[in-house]
Symmetry: D2
Subunit: 298 residues, 4 copies
Amino acid sequence: MKIAFIGLGNMGAPMARNLLKNGHTLNVFDLSRDAVQSLVDAGATASASPKAAATGVELVITMLPAAAHVKSVLTADDGVLAGIARGVTIVDSSTIDPASAQGFAKLAAEHGNPFVDAPVSGGTGGAAAGTLTFMVGANATAYEQVNPVLAVMGKNIVHCGDTGMGQVAKICNNLLLGITMAGVAEAMSLGAALGIDPKVLAGIVNTSTGRCWSSDTYNPFPGIIETAPSSRGYTGGFGTDLMLKDLGLAADAAKSAKQPIYLGALAQQLYQTMSQHGDGGLDFSAVIKLYRDVGAKR
Amino acid sequence: MKIAFIGLGNMGAPMARNLLKNGHTLNVFDLSRDAVQSLVDAGATASASPKAAATGVELVITMLPAAAHVKSVLTADDGVLAGIARGVTIVDSSTIDPASAQGFAKLAAEHGNPFVDAPVSGGTGGAAAGTLTFMVGANATAYEQVNPVLAVMGKNIVHCGDTGMGQVAKICNNLLLGITMAGVAEAMSLGAALGIDPKVLAGIVNTSTGRCWSSDTYNPFPGIIETAPSSRGYTGGFGTDLMLKDLGLAADAAKSAKQPIYLGALAQQLYQTMSQHGDGGLDFSAVIKLYRDVGAKR
Amino acid sequence: MKIAFIGLGNMGAPMARNLLKNGHTLNVFDLSRDAVQSLVDAGATASASPKAAATGVELVITMLPAAAHVKSVLTADDGVLAGIARGVTIVDSSTIDPASAQGFAKLAAEHGNPFVDAPVSGGTGGAAAGTLTFMVGANATAYEQVNPVLAVMGKNIVHCGDTGMGQVAKICNNLLLGITMAGVAEAMSLGAALGIDPKVLAGIVNTSTGRCWSSDTYNPFPGIIETAPSSRGYTGGFGTDLMLKDLGLAADAAKSAKQPIYLGALAQQLYQTMSQHGDGGLDFSAVIKLYRDVGAKR
Amino acid sequence: MKIAFIGLGNMGAPMARNLLKNGHTLNVFDLSRDAVQSLVDAGATASASPKAAATGVELVITMLPAAAHVKSVLTADDGVLAGIARGVTIVDSSTIDPASAQGFAKLAAEHGNPFVDAPVSGGTGGAAAGTLTFMVGANATAYEQVNPVLAVMGKNIVHCGDTGMGQVAKICNNLLLGITMAGVAEAMSLGAALGIDPKVLAGIVNTSTGRCWSSDTYNPFPGIIETAPSSRGYTGGFGTDLMLKDLGLAADAAKSAKQPIYLGALAQQLYQTMSQHGDGGLDFSAVIKLYRDVGAKR
């Protein structure tokens, strides 16, 4: 299949690479020459603009930092919509707010192009290994069409509903993740301060009603889970500033829906404090430092 | 084994019954005559006071509403310590603050009696079925001694550390539970307001990083999990006022340890609001009504 | 002075009217024909576009709902910057985020036009009476120039610093206002529930360390202050949805500055809940209903 | 008048001293010999117990750290109630929860003694200068009786209602104070981070709707108000751990009244964090360090 891939950052580059490996033909575009060259070396064709990349392809995939970039890539004079053929589907794997995704879908529909939102989880590791989860917002026809291509880059392709619902699924999951992680940090720190062995406490929680992914797979307390970022100085993993971005999207979506998010808004302030402390680059489980890193404070 | 069982409420009565069924001999005491009579009918011997119940037994078990009751039952003129023989172990299965448990242990030690804190989870259903989880704070010797007796009333007997650590484990787990439940309520309500099918959202969360017991086993959104209280009008289950009690114990313990519990304190206010609204008797997953029950408000 | 006035809503219209009354000549523009006609009847000249309005004037004043409108009014093909003469100052009295204000100032400077941010407080009453407070962000020269014109529409003209600082002053004040009001609601409700006469409590607070404008001038408890919205069913005053808008601006600014706003974020959720309940049009002091309006909930 | 004064700490000692200076005769009791000796040197008579102190006096005043101490001082075998004559009034100036105060009043009534709760504000400075504020819970008769004595130690004697209402007034005021101070810290820190001159911001807030005692009299930002603790390294003033104590009382009272205190509970966690950081002895306005003291954290 001939595909345009736009956005070759930490996530986009390995995703594009997996498409190439599986025999797809790629036009690629990115503002970074190095990023483009690296994909060209792997067999892709460099395009001078999103418009050029989208010209003559059967599918367009975008993977960009925020809604403003998607808008520009789609609607600029040299953007995707200026080059794409009628009927060709656009898949946006960026994490953006649902309302923007729905707006882009409307815009694309006016040009005769189906638009699919397909944000991912699984991080750079999953992108490289081709084991990402794709949360897909699309009508049934578009979903059937893009599924085989996404399956080359990920192992779980979940149909979440119509356009925008992929983004809704992602931000709701990550809202909950941001809360449970801070909650585990709080409970583990309290337990440790009260004298219980943190490993024993984690063991109990993990077989009881407090059980959650943040506790049984990614426990923020150092030394509980060897493979978790907490056991390697909170390096790697899912960066605090990325969690902040997703909580910001959740807050914006909540505002638009007039929904309160009491715990989410408070968790956001905790991650915000980490970012203020210069810890925005650490894995988000480092939020436990706010509850424990007392020595460093004095 | 000859055992004194003091406190025959919704939890204590079925626990005592299971001891009788397994061949133990019981002296029982409770302020409610009906509660006592019911156990006598099942084969227990009624005692006139905690002191009388504790006289001549090999083990004392207490199951009471709060630390004040435990204190009174132990230290009153006609209390347990006035009747118990030196060396006999006292097991307190009440949920109370760790500091009180440790204080009672010290007091008991002065009388030559080991003291074990062994709060439970599993509710009245688990108490009746003998499938409770016991979180046990005790030294190794006392733990070995009480384990076989507890195993008659529960299926998971977890050694959490020295005296008080059973209580620590329970309040830390329930602190986290109170947070994750409100977090799931928040995320599910937001998703529904944004238009995603709640069942689809739950399915995604439950196979992703937001996964937790409050989502995959006890989801507060009606209709997701048939066996959960949310699918039967929030009746039965774990009452909001009981969750409030446990969050209060966590708050007290946090204060004594100078630990902040940001999310826990906020979750406590949410359950407090439910209680103010007259919903303290509903299952605690009804907290989702604060996020959704808009119609009823107008 | 010949002035262009763009944005004739609930605030803009009476402000423009005061300029006319004081002998200024006005070009006016608004998307609402009725709003324009009303000002024309008072002596203003209708303009076909912001560009037309700005052509040939000595000062441009804008009063618009949000930054997106300001951007459009300034930069559209028929916008202010297309018509304004070099050197003419633009005063924006809209409440927007400081970063946008600073961006507009940069844009205006490139066209040779000073830009002043001058958001107001005082509401529609103050706008009509000419008693608004203007919080002005401008260099000294621009401040001196616009001061006499603003003095026609307000009675307190406060120089807050360079461009953007008018907006900073407003959102920081309103952030604090949103917090103190919810705080007073919380303290008054608690006191009333504990049995103290609310008037007595207010009297004590107002002469003590809890004293604040939300308590001594605008107390949310009904019947304490006759002139406050709380004594007339929370009608009039400063609408909840406007408070939500300002807290949203504070949250955005805090995010950009990597500052946590713990209490502000929580207060935002409380006002959000009011808005969800359909109370977004009530005065923001109606937040006390979340603490007291129990009867209505059942 | 012959008075028993029990509790000669940082507050009690100067209060007792003012009574002596104004010609009253005092029996004093405290566990600290030094504290007693110092008052004896000033003309008081040392008593061997609360009972001894209360014997033969016309009024008993207690000033103690917590409800547990008041209970013990009143009800111990050698306590006040064992020595006091029928009809003699007991004034408790300790800050305790309203329910305890009401419980003591009931107990005292059974012995034929009126009980008045009269917590104070004004700190050690006010105690020494005789300028305290007394918040008095008492029936009209008792209030009339104690007023002249309290007026020797304070300058504002406020009748808050029946027994317990003095405590209610104090905890509600201090709940609000704890919230407004953290709110001012939040708003001032945000403003400073966004570039406004903190003095200018404080000036605006103090003449606007954000105005409060925490801003115009006790601003936590250093250098705004010369006489505030913030301008002397947060020494002196009202200690963080005392604020924590009062917020704890408010939380307990809220729990008993089934009232949520959203902002108060969150503010409590902020002060709790300060205490965890070893700053419990600093003035409570040092809460601003949580928003600004970033350098020290790294």
